[in-house]
């Protein structure tokens, strides 16, 4: 995978001791890998979070797999993942291309685009909750009745509100990734295209887009796998409601474990979450081509 390019040093030197990696490995094993095994183990137990952990066979799994709320949570997760991607990917790509160009005002815009990344998800959720209030928010302020809806109380609308707020928070990050990618495209390609008389749109589709292939894979992987981690924003914004309309899988896991005190079922949901994450990451890697697999994952 990420072993270094073949250089002569490997033959010459013994290299540093593996012990240098030991502290990082120890932390990661203790607080990530062992819990990962632990979540699988706990899914076969019953535990209320306080008392004894009792082995309980498949009963948590039966509960989870027969509960219609699980299926609904999966569906909501898939919808949010899909719509988030459809909205965020093109906007980030276009904004990245836009801000990568030399003009000063575009650089200034890029500085302001970054601001949402400074806010915590809790802060973003609270801000939007106030802003979307039909009586004291944006709709009332602009005098536009169409904006004065009960955005968070209407189960037909709320999913798209969540998708929008997620995009507001995360598009800036992906814009940065694309901006970096565009800046690495050699200028000579554009110069040659201009000599050939290619217009801006042609240049975008014939040069920019193909050259950004690996940036697109990186950003998309982060977007899709990352959408399995949308928890805090939705938790504060809607709490999963109204009803179960925005109860994503991670949120469903939290509520099952820490509110309904059914840690066994919550662990089973955790296992499902891990399985989906792994499957998606592998799939996206495969789409990216085999020869550059692991380093492609995330930012590589």
């Amino acid at each position: 995978m990420s072993t270094t390019s073949g250089s002569s040093r490997q033959a010459l030197q013994p290299g540093p001791s593996g012990w240098l990696a030991a502290p990082a490995l120890a932390f990661f094993l203790l607080f990530a890998i062992i819990p990962l095994i632990g979540v699988l183990f706990l899914s076969f137990t019953s535990w209320d979070g306080l008392g004894e952990i009792k082995l309980d066979g498949l009963s948590s799994w039966t509960t989870v797999l027969t509960d219609p709320v699980t299926g609904n949570a999966l569906l909501v997760t898939a919808k949010i993942m899909f719509f988030s991607f459809i909205i965020q990917a093109p906007i980030s790509l276009l904004l990245g291309v836009f801000t990568a160009a030399g003009q000063k005002y575009r650089a200034a815009l890029a500085v302001l685009y970054f601001v949402p990344l400074l806010l915590s998800s809790a802060a973003v959720a609270i801000a939007f909750k106030a802003l979307l209030d039909p009586n004291f928010g944006l709709g009332a302020g602009l005098g536009l009745p169409i904006l004065a809806q009960d955005w968070l109380g209407n189960s037909d609308l709320v999913l798209f509100v969540v998708v929008f707020v997620i995009a507001w928070q995360f598009v800036p990050f992906h814009t940065l990734i694309y901006q970096g990618g565009v800046r690495q495209i050699p200028a000579s390609l554009y110069e040659a295209a201009q000599i050939d008389g290619a217009g801006r749109v042609q240049q975008f589709f014939n040069i920019t887009l193909p050259q950004l292939k690996y940036t697109i894979i990186t950003s998309s992987t982060l977007m899709v796998v990352g959408s399995l981690a949308y928890f805090d924003l939705v938790f504060v914004l809607t709490g999963g409601g109204p009803g179960y309309a925005t109860r994503l899988l991670p949120l469903h896991m939290y509520l099952t474990g820490f509110k309904a005190n059914d840690m066994g079922a919550a662990s089973a949901l955790g296992v499902i979450l891990v399985a989906i994450g792994l499957a998606l990451a592998l799939l996206l890697q495969r789409l990216g081509g085999k020869n550059r697999n692991a380093s492609q994952l995330e930012g590589a």
């Binding site: 540093p16 003009q103 400074l118």
Partner: protein, 300 residues
């Protein structure tokens, strides 16, 4: 190593991506102004700025003003009472807690990740490539699925409701992405430099601090800021691993403010502004480093 592989980089080039001059000085829109792009760019700016504006303006209104004035208009009599209320409600303690948790997890995470990245890039043992693969796997897994075993471990270790309970898993969760970005940058340090230092009799330990660290400093800063943003704004660990006001961190305090002040929206939004202000100050000071570092770190 996404798009960079398309660049004809000479093998001896002192590749320092964060400070590398832009290969492309003219954008595709140089020939004639790109009205459509500009329009989109300004539109997105409006989408970013309107909620921020609303939060700031509302936080300066008194409660009566909030209910009677136009939500999008600045207050006729701006007041700082809301800020006073937030500060009087132990804001300083939550701030200090956030600072302790952020510094306490980012510094150790950087240290162990840097050492691991050095070993992974310079070493060639099977153990190290196995370690690296494990970290890459960690990127693909939604690690939040492990909160239940982590909760169990933390309560068992009698760390529940302490700041250390937040620090330990935060370090572990920061390691995979840190090792990935740092090792990507470390591969660009010319091998000749290491060889000449070795000929001078330097140990790997000395080379790590005296050569690898100065050469990858921009990446170290980038990774540090990126992790600090994540930990500072983190919500899930504080939610499940702490309870009392003594251990409350800022994002969680926003959520509890929202519960306590409920109808006093201006005060809640003042808390949002105050919680974001420290990061805004950091951003204004270290903007260049942050933006160039993140674009380089993720599009490499």
């Amino acid at each position: 190593m996404a798009s960079i592989t398309q660049l004809p980089v000479p093998p001896s080039a002192p590749a320092r991506p964060a400070v590398r001059p832009r290969p492309r000085t003219k954008g595709p829109g140089r020939t004639r102004p790109n009205f459509l792009g500009g329009l989109g760019g300004w539109l997105w700016l409006a989408i970013i700025i309107v909620p921020v504006y609303y939060v700031v303006v509302t936080s300066l209104k008194n409660q009566a003003g909030f209910f009677t004035s136009n939500p999008m208009m600045p207050p006729s009599e701006p007041t700082l009472d809301n800020y006073k209320l937030v500060v009087e409600n132990d804001f300083a303690r939550y701030f200090a807690n956030s600072l302790i948790v952020t510094v306490g997890s980012v510094v150790p995470a950087l240290l162990v990740s840097f050492m691991a990245a050095y070993a992974i890039v310079r070493g060639r043992s099977r153990f190290l490539s196995w370690t690296n693969n494990l970290f890459l796997l960690g990127l693909a897994i939604p690690l939040h699925a492990t909160i239940i075993p982590i909760y169990w471990m933390i309560t068992r270790a009698h760390l529940y409701d302490t700041l250390l309970a937040l620090i330990l898993p935060s370090i572990a969760f920061a390691i995979p992405i840190s090792v990935l970005i740092l090792s990507n940058f470390m591969r660009d340090v010319p091998n000749e430099l290491f060889e000449s230092m070795r000929l001078d009799g330097c140990s790997d330990w000395a080379m790590m601090w005296r050569l690898a660290l100065p050469m990858t400093r921009p990446a170290v800063v980038t990774v540090g800021i990126y992790n600090a943003l994540g930990v500072w704004n983190g919500f899930l660990f504080p939610l499940i691993l702490t309870q009392s006001p003594e251990t409350r961190v800022l994002p969680l305090s926003l959520w509890t403010f929202q519960g306590e002040f409920s109808v006093n929206i201006p005060a809640v939004l003042a808390a949002v502004v105050l919680a974001t202000l420290p990061l805004l100050v950091v951003y204004v000071i270290a903007r260049r480093q942050l933006l160039s570092g993140l674009t380089a770190g993720f599009s490499k």
